[in-house]
Every structure is written in structure tokens, then in C-alpha cells.
């Protein structure tokens, strides 16, 4: 079989003749692929930031406790444990091992603390409390002793403390600020007693200065560095003394068996957290908590405590909601863009029908013709998509082609599809039947086919809304498509209503004495059944209004947050893009109907219509669908917002369920802009066609 070869002169000739519409389609593809290609990676990066920000804001540490091993000796004595610091180190190591590599990778090095119960400073002045604390981490935190030295052991390594013995002495170091506030010097005894009035014998071994007071380890026990206001509500001040590895065993004996609290702290490192790592970390944290020993257990089991899982769950919900809301906006922009591309293809094919029909009559087969058109559209669309994605790569931290696919497919397929059908229709033998019944049957078949398509859209819209209400917006593409499909369904309803409305207006105009109103209304009635232009206008206006309302509603209740800001930016970007697509749709629809419009106007000119009157008639034709879109679109958009916002989980972004806040002034401005565009389109058309003489138009039968 011979492989069909494109007729290259025809391919290049057509492309040259229709460079304008082709470039316009390319510009739409490039712009939308830029948006669709850049938004997902930007959202991804925003999600990373959101996770990090949530961890920074909440400081969700991971803590693990374990009871200290008992130090009972024979005969009711307690035995000093000289290697207690090493036991604490072991405990820290054991806890670290339990984390697993994934979780461990996003945490700072662990810090082990051993803290005493809170004691009262019994110097008779204002209420002040004191705590003994031990801090241990690989490599710090380091201190410099500016007076005295580190706490030393109070007794021999294997000393024993008999039951009822006097308080076991223990040495602590004080920071400069603590020592100054307490007016204590090295060697001084800190007057301390516990809640039961038992005196504690704690002596100052030295005064220290932290090498790095910003070291995160100090954050765990800030009272070690400076006096801290107490959180007890009575105006107390908290102090703490630093234990050393040597004095920790003495502190153990200075308190009851279970009074010292041993904890290992793991602090997440936000810079190592990514959105991708959240699920596995969340799962590990949940598993640790599930396997955690009971706080009442008297064994050495690990007892995990953290709000990290809750923080991650919240941020997952927020990011999920933001992603879903972004999906809603992206689907809206893509839907409008696809409709605009279909309209552009329709315009292109209308311009080409004579050439396509001529090619068929010269013997070119439909597959070859379709192939040539496909070649042209593929080159244009893919080059534009590559440009859009390349630009997206420059502007965003990555690029995603998946969302751009529908636009590229529409740009590639629409022109060849419409063109092949138009060429087939232009040259087929079938004629309009002479029999009236046959004509009626043909008409009804067309109407039935259209009704089936419309019903399909309505069913899809209903399904999307049901999915949105049942699964929420995060349930996939279908619920995210609910506003777009709702706008499309609303546009179809208005499309059905428009011919009735224009017919009504025409009837009223016929009773009037204004000829221009009659001719404008007549043209409007003649074109009111055109599907694509009104679909583009209404859908883009409705979705633009939806995006504006989403932006205004989210903006009014939003605290600062990366997620909320990103979503707002996307909402505003969509709110700008969609009206532009609507204006483009208006221009394309006007251009598609322009030949018939100006043919009629030319005929009216032969009856004595003046040129300026012809412009009014043209405006009269374009105004009804534009007015329907300008008024119906925003109302439809606000209705869709009312129907869907409850399922978008906006409260996860704004912090509270925001009240619907349609920005009526902006909606009005968008509507007025669309209407005003008619006042631009008509004079431009008039200027473009003024060059053609009436005789040319009437002879060629084409404006």
C-alpha cells in the first residue's frame, strides 16, 4: 500500500494564509501550559514550605521517657550509681535506634535530660523555684566556667545512702544570670526544699557561661541560662542548676527513686523535611506512639510523647485541601482554555472550508487531508507547549506536563477533527431532502444528538457534585471538576434560553419603529444557536467569577501562611486568565461569524443602511450573547461558589470557615469589561472590512 504523502505546498500555503489564528492558538497553548506546568511544582514547593513552617511554628518535639532503674542495695540502702551518665547515654542511643532511619534523618541529634522535681528556694523572699537538670548531647552544649568549676561528685563512686539519712549533698553549676539573680557565689549552699519541706543540700560548684546561648539544647531547659517567669500564674520565677556527669549520681540519691525524670528529646530539623517525607514520618511516629509503654508502667520501657503526628496530620490536611483547591482552579482554567481552542479551531476551519472543499474535489482523500491538518496543528501545539513548559521551568522549581496535556491534545486534535468533518460535509453527495417529513426527521436527529451531548454534560456535572459532596474536593479529578462542569452545564442552560430570548427581543423590536433594533435583533436571533461562542463566554465568565470569589473569600479570613498566599496567588492568576480567555472567546466568536454578519450588513447597505448604522446593527448582534455572559456568568460563578465552597475545606487554609464574600465590584468590572469589548470588536471589524467594496462582498459572497 502506498503511504500517503502530504502535499507540502498546500500545507505551507494554508499555514501562511491562516498564520493569525494559528499564532493565536499557539499563544493560548503556551500561556496555559505555562500556568499548568508551573503551578504543580510551585504547589509542591509550597507544600514543602508549609511542612517546615508548621514544624517551626509548633516546635513539635519528639520526647521519650523512661523510668530510671532502681538503685536499691542490700539492707535497705541506696547505692550510688557512678556510671549513671553512661546509662543515660545508653537510653539516648536506644531511643535513637527505635526511630528508624527515615525519621532519624529529619531530626537534630538527640538531647538527653534528667530533671529533678521543682524545689522551692527557701530564702524567704518572693516565690522562686529551682530545678536540678542534666543535659547531654553528642558535642555539647558546652560551657565555660568563669568561676569555680563543674560540679564534682559528693562522695565516693560506690557510696551508699541509708534509709533516713540526711539529705545527700549534690553540686550544681549556675549561669552568670542565675548566680547574679540569686546573689550566690561558688561554694554557696542554695536554700532549697521540696513540696513536703524536705531540705535539699545543693551547693554551687561554679559559675558558667554558655559557649553558644542560642544552642537548641538550652531551649529545652531555658531556666538553666536565666531566670524564667513561672507558668503557675502566681508570679513565681524559675531557676535551674546544671548537673554534670559527675554530680548526676549524687542528684539521683538526693531525690526519691522515681523523682528524677529521664527524657530524650528529638527536635525535627525543618530544613530536612519535605512534603514527600511526611507520610513515612507520620506513619513512624504513629507506630512509635502505638508501641509506647504506659506512663504508669514501672519498667524501663520507652514512653513516647509528641505532637508531631498531630502537626503532620494538620499540615497534610492543609496541603491536601490547598492542592485540591488549586486543582479546582486549574481545571477551571483548562476547561475554559480547551473551549477557546475549540473555538479557534472552528474559526480556522470556517476560513478554510473553500480550500478544503477544493482539495477534496481535486481528489485528496480525507485521511490525507486530515493528516496534513494534524501535522500542522501538532507542530504548532507542540512547539507552543514546549515554549510554555520551558518558561514554566524558568519560573518554577520544576515543571509538570500532566495538567497541560488536555490543552495540548485539544490544540492538536480540534483543527484536524473539525477540518476533516467540514471537508467531508462540503463534498458529500447527500442533499437536503425535498420531502418535508424527511427534513423534519433529519432536524430531529440533529436535535436529539445535541440533547444527548447536553445530557451527558449535565450528568457529568451532577456526578461531579455528588462526588464533591461525598468525598470532598480531595477525592480526585471528578470532584475537582465540579465547578468547571457546573459552569459548562449552566452555560448549556443559557444556550437553550438565548434563542428564546433573542426571538422575544426580535418580536418586540419588530413592533418598534427602530430599524436598527430590528436588524440587530434579527442577526442576534440568527446566530443565537451557535454553541461554542456562548459556551466560552459564559463558562469563562462564570469560572472567573468563581476564582474571584474564592480569592476574596479566602483572602478575608487568611492569616499569613505560605499555603494561603500560594492559593491566593493562583486564584488571582486564574481570575485574570479566565476573563482574558473570555475576551479571546468573544473576539474569536465574532471573527467566526463576521463573514455572515457583514454579508447581511452589506445587503442592508444596498437597501440604504449607512456605514455607522451598520456598526450599530453589528453591535446589536454581538450584545445579546455578551450580555448573557456578562450577567449570567458572574451570577453562575457565585452560585457555584455557594454550592461548592462548603466542600473545599477552606477553613483548613483560613483557620475558620470563611463566609462567602463575592467581590461584587470586581465581578461588575469584569462584566462591564466584557460588554465594553463589543465596543472595540465592532469598530475593529468595521475598519478591517471597510477596505472591501460592497460589490466585492456581494460578488464573493464572503465578507
Amino acid at each position: 500500500m502506498r503511504v500517503p504523502v502530504p502535499h507540502w505546498p498546500s500545507v505551507f500555503g494554508r499555514a501562511r494564509a491562516d498564520a493569525g489564528p494559528l499564532l493565536l492558538a499557539a499563544a493560548v497553548v503556551a500561556a496555559i501550559t505555562l500556568l499548568a506546568g508551573a503551578v504543580p511544582p510551585m504547589l509542591y514547593a509550597t507544600a514543602d514550605d508549609a511542612v517546615r513552617d508548621a514544624i517551626r511554628r509548633t516546635g513539635a518535639d519528639l520526647r521519650v521517657h523512661s523510668r530510671m532503674e532502681r538503685d536499691d542495695g542490700l539492707g535497705g540502702v541506696r547505692v550510688r550509681a557512678p556510671r549513671l551518665a553512661e546509662v543515660v547515654d545508653d537510653f539516648r542511643g536506644r531511643a535513637t535506634d527505635e526511630l528508624g532511619p527515615g525519621l532519624r534523618a529529619v531530626l537534630h541529634p538527640p538531647v538527653a535530660t534528667v530533671t529533678s522535681p521543682t524545689l522551692k528556694i527557701t530564702d524567704g523572699s518572693v516565690l522562686r523555684t529551682f530545678q536540678l537538670a542534666y543535659l547531654a548531647r553528642d558535642g555539647g552544649p558546652d560551657v565555660t566556667w568563669i568561676a569555680g568549676g563543674p560540679p564534682r561528685p559528693s562522695g565516693s563512686e560506690t557510696a551508699q545512702m541509708a534509709f533516713g539519712a540526711p539529705p545527700w549533698p549534690v553540686q550544681v553549676g549556675l549561669s552568670e544570670a542565675q548566680a547574679a539573680a540569686l546573689r550566690l557565689r561558688t561554694g554557696a549552699l542554695i536554700p532549697l526544699a521540696d513540696d513536703q519541706g524536705n531540705v535539699k543540700k545543693v551547693r554551687v560548684s561554679g559559675i558558667f557561661r554558655p559557649r553558644d546561648s542560642a544552642d537548641a539544647a538550652w531551649r529545652l531547659l531555658p531556666a538553666l541560662l536565666r531566670p524564667v517567669p513561672g507558668a503557675d500564674g502566681v508570679g513565681s520565677t524559675r531557676f535551674a542548676g546544671l548537673l554534670s556527669r559527675d554530680s548526676l549520681p549524687d542528684a539521683r540519691l538526693a531525690f526519691g527513686q522515681d523523682e528524677l525524670r529521664r527524657t530524650v528529646w528529638f527536635t525535627p530539623d525543618p530544613s530536612r523535611l519535605t512534603w514527600d517525607s511526611v507520610p513515612s514520618i507520620f506513619a513512624k511516629v504513629v507506630a512509635l506512639k502505638a508501641a509506647s509503654g504506659s506512663s504508669a508502667a514501672r519498667d524501663g520501657s520507652l514512653k513516647w510523647e509528641t505532637r508531631l503526628d498531630g502537626v503532620l496530620r494538620d499540615v497534610r490536611s492543609q496541603v491536601g485541601a490547598a492542592s485540591a483547591q488549586a486543582s479546582v482552579l486549574l481545571v477551571a482554567v483548562l476547561a475554559a482554555a480547551v473551549l477557546v481552542l475549540l473555538l479557534a479551531a472552528d474559526l480556522l476551519v470556517r476560513r478554510r472550508i473553500p480550500a478544503l472543499a477544493a482539495a477534496r474535489r481535486r481528489g485528496m482523500s480525507l485521511p490525507v487531508l486530515g493528516g496534513e491538518l494534524l501535522l500542522e496543528s501538532a507542530v504548532v501545539a507542540l512547539a507552543a507547549a514546549a515554549a510554555g513548559l520551558g518558561l514554566a521551568r524558568l519560573l518554577a522549581p520544576g515543571v509538570s506536563w500532566a495538567w497541560a496535556a488536555p490543552v495540548v491534545v485539544a490544540a492538536v486534535a480540534a483543527g484536524p477533527g473539525f477540518g476533516t468533518i467540514a471537508a467531508a460535509r462540503a463534498t458529500r453527495d447527500r442533499r437536503v431532502p425535498a420531502n418535508r417529513n424527511a427534513r423534519r426527521w433529519l432536524r430531529q436527529t440533529v436535535q436529539l444528538r445535541r440533547a444527548v451531548l447536553e445530557a451527558g454534560v449535565l450528568v457529568a456535572a451532577a456526578g461531579a457534585f455528588v462526588a464533591l459532596y461525598q468525598r470532598g474536593v480531595g477525592g480526585g479529578v471528578l470532584p475537582a471538576s465540579a465547578p468547571a462542569l457546573g459552569a459548562l452545564a449552566g452555560a448549556l442552560v443559557l444556550l437553550r434560553a438565548l434563542p428564546v430570548g433573542t426571538r422575544f427581543v426580535l418580536d418586540r423590536a419588530l413592533r418598534s419603529r427602530r430599524p436598527l433594533a430590528v436588524f440587530g435583533a434579527a442577526r442576534a436571533a440568527a446566530t443565537s444557536a451557535r454553541v461554542l461562542p456562548l459556551l466560552v463566554l459564559v463558562t469563562s465568565m462564570a469560572l472567573a467569577s468563581y476564582a474571584l470569589t474564592l480569592g476574596a473569600t479566602t483572602g478575608q479570613g487568611t492569616a499569613e501562611g505560605p499555603l494561603a498566599t500560594g492559593l491566593l496567588r493562583l486564584a488571582w492568576a486564574s481570575a485574570v486568565t479566565l476573563p482574558v480567555l473570555g475576551l479571546l472567546g468573544l473576539a474569536l466568536g465574532a471573527a467566526a461569524d463576521a463573514p455572515q454578519r457583514w454579508q447581511t450588513l452589506t445587503r442592508l447597505r444596498t437597501l440604504g443602511l449607512r456605514p455607522r448604522e451598520a456598526r450599530w446593527v453589528a453591535a446589536g448582534e454581538l450584545l445579546p450573547p455578551t450580555a448573557v455572559a456578562a450577567v449570567g456568568g458572574p451570577l453562575l460563578g457565585v452560585l457555584l461558589a455557594r454550592l461548592t465552597f462548603g466542600s473545599l475545606s477552606l477553613h483548613l487554609i483560613t483557620g475558620a470557615e470563611p463566609a462567602l464574600a463575592p467581590p461584587w465590584w470586581w465581578l461588575g468590572l469584569v462584566a462591564v469589561t466584557l460588554l465594553a469589548a463589543v465596543a472595540v470588536v465592532v469598530p475593529v471589524e468595521s475598519v478591517l472590512r471597510r477596505r472591501r467594496r460592497l460589490s466585492e462582498v456581494l460578488r464573493a459572497g464572503d465578507g
Partner: protein, 235 residues
């Protein structure tokens, strides 16, 4: 009764393109049309018939020469002046009818009267009269798409007569009609010349139509090849 010329064409040239590629559609065309007569313009395709009709009706402008219609120099009028001329003195009938598809036959006929701001009652009477004249009184409310080709052309003729023009220009009015219907349309044009006193200039290919004309003008390659002759005047 002696009747003066309604249309005077004097030394009209019209060419398209320039230089070696220029196509001379009309070359020094000069003739008169007597008021209240029907003149057939005959010639092969591309001979310049339509260009001549357009120049006379003000749809196109000659490169040189003058066209006077009822004493008005058409070539000197601006767009508004030409619109007024078409509204009051000159009307057209085209091969493709040129009706407005969403308006009924009656509304199509009434369109020029609306432009002329004729009062509704008078407009309706005039429309009814014209539809009666063209034999379509029973089809007044039908849309053009519901009418046959011949009926549509009759509506177009009625519309052309609505504003009581002095000159009716018809470019191949029977081109899309079968022979019998075409003949009836030509007979209708002949009838309005008689009844309305309109001057009709009609281009046609069909020699059988010529018998209905008072005069026949032949055009070939932009030249009038014969002086006005033939038709009813010459028969």
C-alpha cells in the same frame, strides 16, 4: 410619450489590479437608460456586466467617467450620499436573493420602509400590496427558508420595489432558478415596469429572457459591442 434618460453613463472606465496584471472590466462605456423601460444587459461571464451594474448603483466607483442617476452624479457621492441614493432611488435584486433568514417574507419586504422610517400602518399596507403584486400574499409570514427559490426571488423583487425606487438593478436574478420560474420572475419584472413605472436594468445570460426587455445592451470585454437594440423595442 417621449421619456428622457433616467441614467446617463459617460466614458466610464473601471479596472482591477495594476500594471501588466490590470484587468480592464469597463472601457469607455457610454449609454443612457430611458425612464420607465426595461433594459437587458447581456454578455459572457467576465464581460463586465456586474461591474457595470455596480458602478451604476454606486456599489463600486469607476476609475474615470461619470454616472448620473435621476440627475445625481453617483460618482461624486460620499458613503452617506450613496446610502441615501440607495434608500430613495436605486434598489437591487441579486442572484442569491439576499433575504434576511430570520425575518418573515413580509418583514423582509418591509425592511427598506423601516429604514425610510415609514409609519407602521403605511408600511404594512405597502408590504401587503407588494406581496400581492408578486403573488405571495399567502406567504407573508413564512421565513425565507420555507419558500422556494422562485418565491424568495419574488420576495426580493417586492423588497426592491418597497421604497418606490426610480431604478431597479437586477444582477442575474434568474441565475439560481429553473427556466420556467426564471421566466416568471422576468415577467414579474416586466410587469412592475408597466405597473410601477420603474426603470429596470437587468443582466442575464438567458436569451429567452431578452424578449421581455425594451432594449438589449451587449457587453464584451468591457466594451459595449452593439448600440442598444433588440428586445421589445427591436421586435
Amino acid at each position: 410619450m417621449s421619456r428622457g434618460p433616467l441614467v446617463s453613463v459617460r466614458g466610464v472606465h473601471r479596472s482591477f489590479g495594476s500594471g501588466a496584471n490590470a484587468v480592464h472590466a469597463l472601457r469607455d462605456v457610454t449609454f443612457d437608460l430611458t425612464a420607465g423601460t426595461m433594459t437587458a444587459l447581456v454578455g459572457r461571464s467576465g464581460s463586465g456586466k456586474t461591474t457595470l451594474l455596480n458602478v451604476i448603483g454606486g456599489l463600486d466607483r469607476p476609475d474615470s467617467g461619470a454616472v448620473l442617476v435621476d440627475g445625481t452624479d453617483v460618482t461624486a457621492l460620499d458613503e452617506d450620499g450613496l446610502s441615501l441614493l440607495r434608500r430613495e432611488k436605486v434598489s437591487y435584486v441579486f442572484q442569491t436573493f439576499g433575504l434576511i433568514p430570520v425575518l418573515s417574507a413580509a418583514e423582509n419586504v418591509g425592511a427598506p420602509l423601516r429604514l425610510a422610517r415609514v409609519r407602521p400602518g403605511e408600511r404594512e399596507r405597502r408590504v401587503a400590496l407588494l406581496l400581492e403584486l408578486v403573488g405571495l400574499a399567502d406567504h407573508a409570514e413564512q421565513l425565507p427558508g420555507e419558500l422556494s427559490g422562485g418565491q424568495q426571488q419574488r420576495v426580493a423583487i417586492a423588497r426592491a420595489l418597497a421604497a418606490s425606487p426610480r431604478l431597479l438593478i437586477a444582477d442575474e436574478p434568474t441565475g439560481q432558478l429553473d427556466a420556467e420560474t426564471g421566466l416568471s420572475v422576468m415577467a414579474l419584472l416586466r410587469g412592475v415596469v408597466e405597473s410601477e413605472g420603474v426603470t429596470v436594468l437587468v443582466s442575464t445570460h438567458d436569451p429567452t429572457m431578452l424578449a421581455l426587455a425594451d432594449r438589449v445592451i451587449r457587453i464584451n470585454d468591457g466594451h459595449l459591442t452593439t448600440e442598444p437594440s433588440g428586445g421589445r423595442a427591436g421586435s
